[in-house]
Amino acid sequence: MTKNIISRSSTIPVLAALAVVAIVPSSYAENELPVVGSADTSHSDWGDSTVNVNQVEVSEDGGYAIVAWTVNNDGGSNINLTDFWHATYLYQDNGTAGVVLVDDDNGIRYNAVRDSAERCLCSGVFTRAHTKAIVKSGQSATYWASYILREEAEEVTIEIPGFEPITDVAVE
């Protein structure tokens, strides 16, 4: 009898697990990505959306830094890849060049890297059929951009268009 009770009660977790797997497939485990900073949206149409900065890492040589961020649309109108274009400087074919790193200690604002054809080294320069260019409510997308930092840059504030600034992020 005891055995029956135990057997029956283990069915439920298995079924629950199956149910979770059945529901999850169309989105992905974005909560598995590392998070080094987060912010709420400052955009009036974006509901309770948030952004996670997943990576601020610099190369061994040359100060080439990669910044990756994941936008989580929570109850807002569509968030578009084009919302992350640089508002001021021109980049050939745009892309998500709009994120600015601010080194307050050394008084420098860093803008995304361009090559000599003026294209940024970032996501979205060429939107392909399956680029996540529109992030609807309930969805997430990860974008990135590259920077060239001076050696003295140890900590930065990250300004992501549409979100509050994220301060004191260490450059790894």
């Binding site: 497939p25 992905y28 974005e30 061994e60 994941t70 508002a87 400087y89 890297v113 990860t142």
Partner: protein, 368 residues
């Protein structure tokens, strides 16, 4: 390093546990006879969808060239964080090796791995903007030491990259990998690592360059077009917004706001200009430059008949001042006015127009 997102799910589910689950579930199905055959099958499905191979050798992928697979123990050197595709981190790039082949060529070996449970349409996910579908010509290597962007080598016959292709085999099923290789122009000999820009994922930093073990003259001797290597630059602004610098390799370009240097429509320097130009003069003096180029620009308001001469006169004013201030001899100055051409900022915005109203001073600056 960013590992397989599903790894934790797999770790908690080994075959012993599976066996116990299936046994328990089957036993409990006595009272639910309709479900009896389904539960073990469902449990197995759960495992198959979640526990895809992590770190094993690529499961025999069709269409890949030989020598393209992972080497040694099968573990990739690095993996991508996520992608900006509909599949997010379910598409994972695994960097297997970066080898020098001969003096002029490097080959990147990587794999595109489907660690999710939906099939991935890989057709042009790493194809360049004007590139060839079903090829990885959108993948670049970054020489971070020298600030260069290396594009794939292009074959002279067929104008396609010197790389693997996957025509007719674009789908990556769950649990499968597609092996990919791309040949690039080699960086200088003293470069020991490069960064991989797949163009569908955040760049993967610092992949060590190794010597290719196998003689592969098919690749190192293949007839290719002139290599395409572009320099990188970046605009770093002073926090007060009055000046910025664009550092590119061994050249520095200092961008000064015309609004600070001059009064509206005037070309005489203001008193505020002195300190700023003193600093620039110092930098030029400290460098080994023999030439400094001074260029004047305006925004796109007004017309060329005003903007062109104004920008030229302003460049001249800055030149005269620098000639006074720079203490080192042997520097010649060139000036030019460009009017509203070559904007750096978006003229549709106030901030953009402000950036365009500038005088730039460009000079060689080793180790800037």
């Amino acid at each position: 390093m960013f590992g397989t997102p599903w790894a934790t799910l797999c770790d908690g589910l080994d075959w012993n546990t599976v066996g116990k689950v299936i046994t328990t579930v089957s036993a409990s199905a006595d009272h639910h006879s309709a479900w009896r055959p389904l539960l073990p099958i469902a449990a197995i499905s759960l495992l198959l969808t979640s526990c895809v191979s992590g770190g094993d050798d690529g499961s025999g992928d069709e269409g890949s060239s030989d020598n393209g697979g992972s080497q040694g123990n099968g573990e990739p050197i690095a993996t991508s964080l996520s992608t900006d595709t509909s599949w997010g981190p379910d598409l994972q790039f695994e960097i297997n090796s970066l080898e020098r082949l001969g003096e002029d060529t490097v080959r990147l070996n990587l794999a595109a791995s489907n660690i999710g449970d939906e099939r991935i349409q890989f057709l042009d996910l790493v194809t360049a903007p004007a590139g060839n579908s079903s090829t990885p010509d959108g993948i670049n290597l970054i020489d971070t030491k020298n600030g260069k962007r290396h594009f794939p080598l292009m074959k002279t016959d067929g104008e396609e990259c010197l790389c693997s292709t996957w025509r007719g085999e674009a789908t990556i099923q769950p649990g499968e990998k597609k092996d990919i290789w791309v040949a690039f122009p080699a960086p200088p000999e003293d470069v020991t690592a490069m960064t991989v820009a797949t163009s569908a994922s955040p760049d993967i930093l610092d992949i060590p360059l190794t010597e290719g073990e196998q003689e592969d003259t098919d690749i190192s001797d293949a007839p290719v077009e002139e290599p395409k290597i572009l320099s990188l630059s970046t605009i770093q602004e002073d926090i007060d917004g009055d000046s910025a610098r664009d550092e590119s390799g061994n050249e520095t370009s200092i961008m000064l706001s015309s609004d600070v240097l001059f009064d509206t429509n005037k070309s005489e320097l203001t008193s505020e200009a002195d300190d700023t130009l003193e600093q620039v003069a110092q930098e030029i003096g400290d460098s080994s430059a023999t030439t400094a180029e001074i260029d004047g620009y305006t925004d796109n308001t007004g017309n060329d008949s005003v903007n062109n001469p104004l920008s030229e006169e302003r460049a001249e004013s800055v030149k005269e001042k620098l000639e006074e201030l720079v203490t080192r001899d042997g520097i010649s100055y060139e000036t030019a006015g460009h009017g509203s051409s070559d904007p750096v900022g978006n003229n549709d915005t106030k901030e953009g127009r402000e950036k365009n109203r500038r005088v730039t001073i460009t000079f060689e600056n080793q180790g800037g």
